[in-house]
Symmetry: C3
Subunit: 470 residues, 3 copies
């Protein structure tokens, strides 16, 4: 029976001198609170504070990192309990789902999912044997039992994880009922929202016209006209801000921005609402909205996040049968230098605007993002995102971006996750990798040791607070 | 006189703890047989089992890695004995060719060619002094003498190299006479073919129409019509399969795939045969054929390999004077996310299809290939190819692909070589680098040590056998 | 008060065995003279040999690496003393500029600017305390005092830096008065020019038509006609050569080359001069001129350098207010495989031509540049350029290019700087990183130790001399 251990030196380099300094740097930041400025936690967890149903529903079924890998090796999504859109039968027994996952746990060797999962089992559930087909049932039972205890309720875990603040992301159409319930509950945990307008700014989003109509009803604005449509955004942004939001988030296919005349904007809106916008017009509309959002951010102070470059729902059969976010999103080459120019030409030199850029295309770190962020006052670099939220991904980010952008044009770590139990694991990985990178710089005499300690605290905690105004 | 040594720790990292584990991992796989599922060995070697003529003809003249580097430094290909198409005079004296190469051996410092060459000299010929202008003649003599001995005949070397199976690649027009001779010889070595249809699926291939006519004659199908043309493929695939083939191989300029209506396919075939296809139509025809080949693979079980992204014959003067494969092929940026979509839309979720993707564009490892292979059941990642079949190239592949695709969506090592004596050297490099990568993961506590041992055997041997159905 | 130290092991890896060899390699090259074959030193420094005015004017105001980072964090360029085009007021007090810089010195942690700046303070000025807000004034005073001493005059520093030869870059319209003054002064320092024809080969260059007119006047050629225009180039190239030039330099937006008929060239020139050339025609004209320059290089032996891939003046407000070269140039993806083909088709196999390629797009190192340089006799790879002239950038270059291009298709180091005092620092970084890379290869038994020593001298000194014919 192989043991499950979390080695205290995990993710630190083997060289003894570097490892020693990495350890000391990490010791100085490991107890800092978690600031989670961007993620996909469900606010209902904290509003209801109900027990999580079972280990599979908590750890496997909602995690697209997990089931995409299993699917890639020929395991049917149905057998993992992923709901089909047609409502037809899928596996319901969490024990069988868990067992299937455990049988294939070797697939995750060398992936961050493995590290996050082990971290959750070890730290949250106190498991001390490695997951495999032999241990699967014992571990399931232990986790299932634990989830019934008060210490495993969402708010208790939130506190145990030492989360200072967590931001969720919601559509402008979301009434933010759960956030209101959390506030009114008297519980001290800080759960805030972020303004993610994709459903009403992307003409290709499912139900766009219907969404914009609802957007108008919600705000009392005439969203069929350009000015009314913009006013509706201002209205909802203000509401989101009143519910704690300090940021907006924009998940576009590209980083394209536009700066069109008002008459042209109005025409694009009309065509988008009529469903007659071409792909190019849809792209222009989204691009114009990034520039508009930047302008509104100058007024209301919300920090802007741009997450471009994913070919969503690349697999039409999976999309048809299971819907969005089922592990079939694939990164694409992403241009920033030309794409951002219209927005930057207009707002790039503002002092009151902050735009955090993310990418799924690592080639742009040294070629585009670091040079842009190392010049434009409005730009900052978000941490490695999605597939790159991993030890190697984080190291590449620091190695490629730091020499041109420095550390101070970066914004600390985002966990960006739907998997609640992975939050401490992800922050732990990020802190370890950053400490490792800093230790390497110091041991190679590229920075001084006192600077490494100062930076470790910034990267683990202070930068995120400052960049997101938290 | 500098010594030639193969240090037992070569390619292992300097850190003592990591090196120690790398050593132990390597010791566990170093004696595993070689599985060579993709390469360009000449089956005639094993059919004739005749002595190799001389050291230059064996080691220098056929190796485009070798003469491209010499050419880049101003050495005429003629002086290396590379045959001119016009039949005009080139160097014929193998001693002079060898000497010229030895004089410039320093050019290969830091390249894999240097490691492969040293390995062949040391392990195959027992040479113990480093090649340079001073030692050139002695080494030539020793090698030339050895080549006359029975122990240096192709079959003897095959056995000494511990090759369990080797696949060559042949055109559908190849009668596979050599393979038949090998089988009929009673020799126990397993030499199989692979179906490489470029000459009859690429309208821009030299002599395409003539090839397709011959293809029809060979199969008794009417290859001037789309259905007959497809039937001819099925016919030859079956024949290749009967000669041991377990795979097909497709060397296209891009990864473009198409899924066109039959009438359109027929029209493209007609234009291709008439020599009136535009570049775009030629590209569509190749793209359609990838999808057709995938469909046939579902039926006959042949594993499909796609090798895109080389700008072949970039240098028109070299092509005119010396022909194909003379070191003038240059990689290009290669898109997979859009290019493969038509094929994947049709067959991406099949359980009975396996497509192994290669690339010459390392930027796609983390951005496209690992995310695709980490989702689609039909996709696997081939090892680093061609210019990237090198220590740094292999490390980059593992570092970029593993966190998203895992190890189990990769297929072990291919040597892909025309240089017979480099086969053990190339597998040795691959095993060392994989053990090094695994040792690093284990020493940094990212996988457990027993997992590293399990993976080492998979990467060195078992994955290739399974992926290629060998 | 934190000390400023330059650790003797800086930039060497932590592993003791590797570090030890890196140290020994470095000791063998550290005293070699500096060969600076490409840069932007101002020849007037050496012609006048007047004292540098003050520390800010020497170290801060002219260095776009410095002020782009400060600007990215919201510091106005005016407050750094950067002159506005409208002549309106900017900070004039060098002490205040220095202080502002020192207050934000932490921004440069982990950047090469920090290493270069510390090196200059430590080695040139003998400073032994770290720059920060507390030490700023003391350090300013010490530097300001030093600059008044004879030992800090430009020629004295040139000699103290052990510069064997330095090349500046000048426009064909430059009369090279300063170079002539240097020559006529009897001073022994070797300061040569390089032919940088952007102002007269780029139709989009400010004042192109005016420049070409002046070009005609200067040379007595009819530059309104294609043949006269080419003759003017030949004329000025000869003059530059007479003033020591051994190279030309071409800073184009892309690597596009053309090989057009003469009538088409003439038509493009006419349209360019008339200001009616489209963007595409301007691009063709520049591309044609690269091919023409290559042809002239075959005749006159000047080595050709191509520096493509920068989106110049990306920030229109900064360009309007402050002009060119103000830190707002951003790299773009750059194609070489197709772009260089017309030139290579014509001249790629010449023995008397040498073209040194640079890039701002690191993705091309392994995909395009190393394969091209590893085949074409005319091509060599320049060192990592601009944003990539950094420890990580240099390591990536060696790791990505060496296995395919070898060391011998590279040309040593260029400092490429306007910041005179950073020259020894930059060469120091390059030598250390190259020694580190070589040490790693040797410790991993990928090259022999004697080869590492041989290569260290080549990379530090001999390759640059040979490649630039110095």
């Amino acid at each position: 029976m192989p043991a499950l251990t979390l080695h205290p030196d995990r993710l630190f380099p083997a060289d003894p001198a570097t490892r020693d300094l990495a350890r000391r740097l990490h010791a100085s930041v490991r107890s800092l609170p978690i600031v989670s400025p961007h993620g996909h936690a469900d606010p209902q967890w904290f509003a209801d504070n109900a027990p999580f149903p079972d280990p599979a529903a908590l750890l496997i079924t909602p995690d697209h990192y997990v089931f995409r890998m299993l699917y890639s090796q020929g395991i049917a999504l149905e057998s993992l309990g992923i709901a089909r859109i047609d409502g037809s039968d899928v596996e319901r027994d969490p024990r069988r789902i868990w067992r299937l996952f455990a049988d294939h746990y070797a697939l995750f060797r060398g992936t961050p999912t493995r590290m996050w999962f082990d971290h959750a089992l070890h730290e949250v559930f106190g498991i001390r044997e490695r997951l495999d087909c032999e241990s699967a049932e014992r571990i399931y039972e232990a986790c299932a039992q634990a989830l019934k205890e008060p210490a495993f309720l969402p708010r208790a875990l939130f506190e145990r994880f030492n989360i200072e603040v967590i931001a969720t992301t919601e559509s402008p159409l979301d009434p933010l009922v759960q956030h209101r319930r959390i506030r009114e509950s008297g519980w001290g945990g800080r759960v805030i929202t972020a303004y993610r307008p994709d459903p009403v700014v992307d003409p290709e989003f499912d139900g766009f016209a219907r969404n914009v109509t609802q957007f108008g009803e919600l705000t009392g604005e005439d969203t069929t006209r350009w000015r009314g449509y913009l006013a509706a955004h201002r209205n909802r942004r203000a509401y989101f801000k009143s519910m704690g939001a300090t940021s907006t988030d924009h998940g576009h296919p590209t980083a394209r921005t536009c700066d069109l005349r008002e008459s042209e904007c109005h025409r694009l809106l009309e065509r988008a609402l009529a469903g007659t916008a071409t792909r190019e017009e849809a792209e222009q509309f989204r691009g114009q909205m990034l520039t508009e959002m930047a302008g509104m951010s100058i007024d209301d102070g919300l920090v802007m996040q741009i997450h471009p470059g994913s070919h969503r729902n690349h697999n039409p059969r999976v999309f048809r049968d299971f819907g969005r976010d089922k592990g079939a999103d694939i990164p694409m080459p992403t241009d920033y230098v030309s794409a951002l120019k219209p927005l930057l030409d207009r707002y790039g030199n503002e002092r009151k605007l902050s735009i955090i850029l993310f990418t799924l295309d690592e080639t742009v770190y040294s070629r585009e993002l670091a040079p842009l962020a190392g010049h434009y006052p409005v730009l900052r670099l978000g941490p490695p995102w999605w597939f790159h939220d991993s030890p190697e991904g984080m190291l590449r980010f620091r190695e490629h971006a730091t020499e041109t952008a420095g550390f101070y044009n970066t914004v600390g770590f985002n966990d960006d996750t739907r998997a609640f139990l992975s939050i401490p694991a992800r922050h732990d990985v990020a802190r370890r990798i950053d400490c490792r990178f800093l230790a390497t710089l110091a041991v190679e005499h590229r920075i001084d040791e006192d600077e490494a300690f100062d930076l470790a605290g910034n990267l683990a905690y202070h930068f995120a607070k400052a960049a997101y105004k938290l």
